[in-house]
Each structure stands twice: as structure tokens, then as C-alpha cells.
Amino acid sequence: MQCTMFILTVLFFTFLFIFREYSVLVGIFLPVRLMKRVKIGLLSFLMFSAGVTLSLYNFIGSEHQNAIYGNETGNHVMVIVLTCTLITVMILNYLKIKPSSVLSVLGSIIGVSIFLEKEPLRFTYPLIISVLVPIAVFALSMTLNLLFNMVLKKTRINLLLLSYYMRYAVGIIIVGTSFTVGFNHGLLYESYCEITGYTPDIPIVIIIASSVILLPLIKNFWNITERFAEGCEDYTLNSIVSVSTAIILLTSLVHIPVTVYGCVKSGISGAFFAKKHDPSNLKTVFQETVSTVASLFFSAMLSYLLLNIYRSANEEESKFINVTVLAIAALLTLSVIFISYVKQQKNDRRKTNLLLYSKQQQIYEHSRALNEMEMKTVLSENQLLHATVELKRKEAMNIALGICEQKEYLESLKKKTSRLYEYKKMTDEEKIRLYDEINNSVSQRLSFDHEIDTIYFSSQAESLHKDFTIKLNDRFPNLTQQEKRLATLLCLGFSSKYISTLMNITPKSVEISRYRLRQKLKLGKGDNLVSFLQSL
């Protein structure tokens, strides 16, 4: 039972690490395109498994186990460590602090060890080292990058030759990094063995290690890795080598399990800081340090708390609730609440800003639409005014033409009437002919005038009073053409006498037409026809 429990928890942790942490270990080497990604993954995990196996083999084989974490048996410890890790990862994820799975496990183990040994100060050194790891990787990576570039400049090596050597260097680096990380994380599994009191046999270790190699065949793993690799496309070979070398050195020197994700991110920031001195790189290091501290302390406190609760529940002699336990529980709860509150405030502020921005955009859109409408109105008014001006111009031209024509007619009439001076000398026939000529000319003029008036006037009137004509047609569609013309002339304010001349009818006919029009417009006795028509 304990063996099964142990295998399951170890596999679970490894699975968690692979998806959360080791994807960057493979992802950072993908842009190099040294070989196919599956080969890089398999090579990497092969060496990682070898490192873990070697570390556990030393642990199992050695008499003086480098136990720094005490002993305890029982499945409950395994369950508590597993639970605390999961809770820590979930809560920190929720609070948007990217948690380190490795350090969450380590923190849980430390919490259990503090509970068992009652010597918290013994863990000060490992805790401080863990916190300083991201900063150390940053500094080391930056230094190595600068050193590397300096050496390249001094040696004046050809770029192509360098790339050739780099291909093999990167291959060696993949092997070295994976192996040292594996060996480093073997310490974590050692600690886990010690606190659970279960030490696996070598065959079981090898089986677990072999199963790890198959995990890169999972598609989801590559999705995560490719996403990380896309962000690394801009990295030069020098940067990748510097980062990996820094990780190898650190994991070899430090006998504390480190977070791979934090190391890679800090290392990359260091390499970039060496070139550009961009302060955002320092921000990344700070974030990784916060993540380290949060993962370690949160999981340690949680595991300590849970163990205390477990013991209190099991011990029948005393129901006294440890003050320390209460204090830790309160501290944990308060810190979670506080961080949630701060995050919530930030979110609210962000949402408010977004809302404000969208409202401003709306206002801007509305005012733009309004301006467009105003412009359209002004344009259409201008068009109307232009049309009116054009009509007036035509009118003026027609008047001028009319005047010219009148003048010509009068001149011709004058010529004819000037023959009257010789009236006494004319014969009767000549007199009658002259009279007929003058009479015909005047009569012709009279009838042509009406036609001209009708043509010019009607078209003008209808153009100028198009609105009136449309309204009249809409409201009183049963009016005849003559009645409509009469209505237009009345609306224009012409007198009955002038209307009779224009329409070539007698004034009496105009009166009768007006009466009929009133009937059709359904006007009462007191209603003024002209006012009614003008009000349409």
C-alpha cells in the first residue's frame, strides 16, 4: 500500500513538474533547430531521468544518508504533502502569482519536517538559498553572456565556424542541463523518501524514471513548449548557451532543489539585460523571487497547519488547539484575503478604466455622427440655396429676354405705325391692309404672350413652389390641373384680375373657380382661402 502510494505521488509530482516547469527546459532549445523537437525532448528527459536515477541510487546505496529533513512513516504524510502542493499551486494561480510546483513540494516537505523536528531555524539556510536562486541565475547568466561576447571579440572567430561549434555546444548543453536538473530534483525525491519513511528499490526507481521519458509524447506538453519557444525566437545562440551554463553551474553547486521555470526566466532576463539594460528584465527577476517565496512559505505553513489539525483530531488526551496553529491559519487566511483584495482592486480599476475608455469612444463616435449630420444639413441647405439662386438667375434671364423681345416687337410696331403719316395719301385698300397688319400683329402678340407666360411662369412657379405642389397633391389629389394652377397663383398672392389675364379667362370665371376650389378644399364660411393655401 505504501509502495503504491509512493509511486503514485512521485509520478504525479513528476507529471506536474513536466507540464509546469520542464516545458521551458525543452522550449528554450527549440529555436536552435539543432534537431527535431521530439528528439530534443527525448534526449532531455533521458538525461533528466538519468540524473534522478543517479541521485536516488546514491541515496539508496549510501549508509550516511544526507538526511536534513527527519523521518516519519505513514501514508498521511504523503497525502498531506500532495494536498498542500495542490492547494498552493491552485491558490497562487488564482492570485495570478505563477507558482513553482517544485518549490511547493519542497515547502510542504519543509513544513512537515519542522513539525516533526521542531527546529525551524535549521531550514533558514535552505530557504534563503532558494529565495536567492533566481537572482543568482540572473547575475550569472548576465556575466557569462558578457564574458562570452568578450571572448568572441578577442578571438575573432569566424561566425560560421562559431555556429558550427555552437551546434555541438548546444547538444552538450542540453545533455548537461537536463542531467544536472535531474540530479538536483533527485534531492527533492530523496527528501520525500525520508519524510515518508519509504525508500524505493532500484528497479522501482528505474521504472519510474523510464515512464518519465514517455511523457514528452503527450501532445499537450508540446503545445506548452511551442508557445514558450515562440517567445524565444529572437534569442541568439550566445544567450541560450549563457542561460543553460548558468543553470548547470547553479544546480551543481546548490544542494537545494531549484525551480527550473524560475531559473530559465531569470537567466533569459540576465542575458538580455547584458545587452540592453532594460529595467523590465529586473522586473522578471523580482516576479520570480516573489513566486519562489510565495510557493515555499505558503506550502510550508499549510503543511504545518494540516499536520497540526491531523494530530489534534487524532489525539484523544488533549483537545487544546495550539496557538501557533491558529496564528498560522489566521496568517494564511489573512494573506490570501489581502492578496485577493489587492488583485480585485486592480481588476476593478482596470475594468473602470476600460469602461471609461469605451464611454469616451462612444461619446467620440456620437459627436462625430452629429458633426457629420450637421455637415450634411449644411450641404443640403447650400444645395437648395444654389438651386434657388440658379432659378432666380434663369428668371432674370427670361425677364431680360422678354424685355428684348418686347423691344423688338415695339420697334416693328413703330415701323408699321410710322406709315400712318401717309394715311391721307393711301387708298382704301391700303388703309384696310395697314389696319389688318397692325391688328393681326397686336392680336398675335397678345396670344403668344399668354403662351410665354404659361411656359415660363408655370415652370418657374412649379419649380419655386415644388413643395407646395407636392403637399397640395398629397392632401387634395382630386383637384384638377386648372384648380391646382389657380391654387398656386393664389398662394403666390396674385389678384383675381391678374390671374384672369394669366389664365386667359374672365374675372367672373376666376371668382367661380375660386368658389369651386373652396368647396373642394372643404373650407368654411369664415376661412380665408389664400391664408389656408399659404399655411399648407
Binding site: 571579440k153 569566424n158 561566425l159 560560421l160 565556424l161 555556429s163 558550427y164 555552437m166 545562440l237 545587452k275
Partner: protein
């Protein structure tokens, strides 16, 4: 086993490529001189030499392209190097075409213009020859490139100036020439000037490559 020889061959191919380009530029300069001073036999020799160098350059370029993709793991610089090779090949093509245009079209160049044409050719070739060491330095000492390419810009300006002088002389002062002859001379001056412009393009490309490598 480790394909070290192939990398060494690639490096030597690149050196040979640029040396052949340098040789082509010298052949062009000599060819123009021989044409201007009516040394027909030497001019024909220059044409044959130019054809051979073009073949060598094409062969070298193909091999280098293949090796760059298969032997190196340069992430970002590979495309830059390919572009550099394209632009330098463009210079070689211009040199070849311009020299053969002399042979095909046989322009009538008045002897008064000989010194001007020689100067124009000289500055254009100097522009080309100043970018060759800069291109070689990209692989070893990229920091030296900005100093070397500044010369290319200077020679290009001088080449443009001389080209304009020739055109001005032809159109303003040489009334005895027909319009078609004037156009012909202008055309040849422009062709030689274009060689300097192509060298300037390569200088621009090198400047960008140095900046990208430093990032």
C-alpha cells in the same frame, strides 16, 4: 565525422566569392579602359575573363546557399547572409551586362570624354571594392563595418557627380553630336553609375545586418 571540412569549405567559398567579385570589378575597369583607348584584342580578352568569373560566381553562390542551410545553425543571420549574397550577385550581373553592352552597342565616345569616363568607372569600381572587405568583416569583426562602408557612400556620390558632368558636357557642349549619340552616351554613363548605386545598396544591407547582430 563532425563535418568540420564542410564548414571550412563554406568559409573558403565565401572568401573566394568575394575575391572573384573583386576580380570581376578589376576586369570591368580594365575592359572599359581598353574600349576607350581602342585596344580591341585586350578588350576581347577582358570579355572572356568576365564570362568565366560570372560562371565561377554562379557556381560558388549555389554551393554556399546549400551549405548555409545544411551546415549551419544560424537562426537569424542566415537570411541576412542570403540577402547579402543576392545583392553582391546583382553587382556582378551589372558589371557583366555593362561590359557586354560596350561590345554589342559599340558606342562612339569622343576622345574628350575618355578621362571623364575613366574617372566615372574608377569611382564606381572603388565603391564596389570598398564593400568587399566590409562584407568579409561581417563574419569576423562586425564592428569594423561602419567605417568601411562610409567609403562606399563617398565613392557613390563621386560617381554620381562625374556621371552628371558627363551628361552635362554631352548635352550642353557637344553640339556636333546627334541626339541619338547623346542618348547613347548618357545611357552608358548611367549604366556605370548604377554599379556604384548597387554597391551603395550592399553597404545599406551591411549596416542593417550589423545592427541586427548586435541585438
Amino acid at each position: 565525422m563532425f563535418k568540420r571540412n564542410k564548414i571550412s569549405k563554406l568559409i573558403s567559398d565565401i572568401d573566394s566569392y568575394f575575391n572573384t567579385l573583386d576580380k570581376a570589378s578589376s576586369i570591368f575597369q580594365e575592359g572599359v579602359r581598353n574600349y576607350l583607348y581602342s585596344n580591341k584584342e585586350n578588350f576581347n580578352t577582358n570579355l572572356n575573363d568576365m564570362s568565366r568569373t560570372q560562371d565561377d560566381l554562379s557556381e560558388l553562390k549555389k554551393e554556399m546557399e546549400f551549405a548555409l542551410y545544411t551546415q549551419t545553425s544560424l537562426i537569424r543571420t542566415r537570411s541576412d547572409i542570403m540577402r547579402l549574397l543576392e545583392k553582391t550577385r546583382n553587382i556582378a550581373d551589372l558589371l557583366n551586362e555593362s561590359l557586354f553592352q560596350f561590345e554589342i552597342e559599340m558606342p562612339l565616345i569622343p576622345s574628350d570624354l575618355n578621362p571623364d569616363f575613366m574617372k566615372l568607372t574608377e569611382f564606381s569600381i572603388l565603391a564596389v571594392q570598398s564593400i568587399i572587405p566590409a562584407a568579409k568583416d561581417y563574419f569576423i569583426e562586425p564592428d569594423m563595418i561602419p567605417d568601411k562602408i562610409s567609403r562606399a557612400y563617398y565613392y557613390e556620390k563621386e560617381a554620381t557627380r562625374f556621371s552628371q558632368n558627363i551628361k552635362r558636357t554631352v548635352f550642353h557642349k557637344m553640339d556636333n553630336l546627334k541626339l541619338s549619340e547623346k542618348f547613347h552616351l548618357r545611357y552608358f554613363a548611367l549604366h556605370i553609375e548604377n554599379i556604384a548605386k548597387a554597391a551603395e545598396n550592399v553597404a545599406d544591407q551591411l549596416a542593417v545586418m550589423v545592427t541586427r547582430r548586435s541585438l
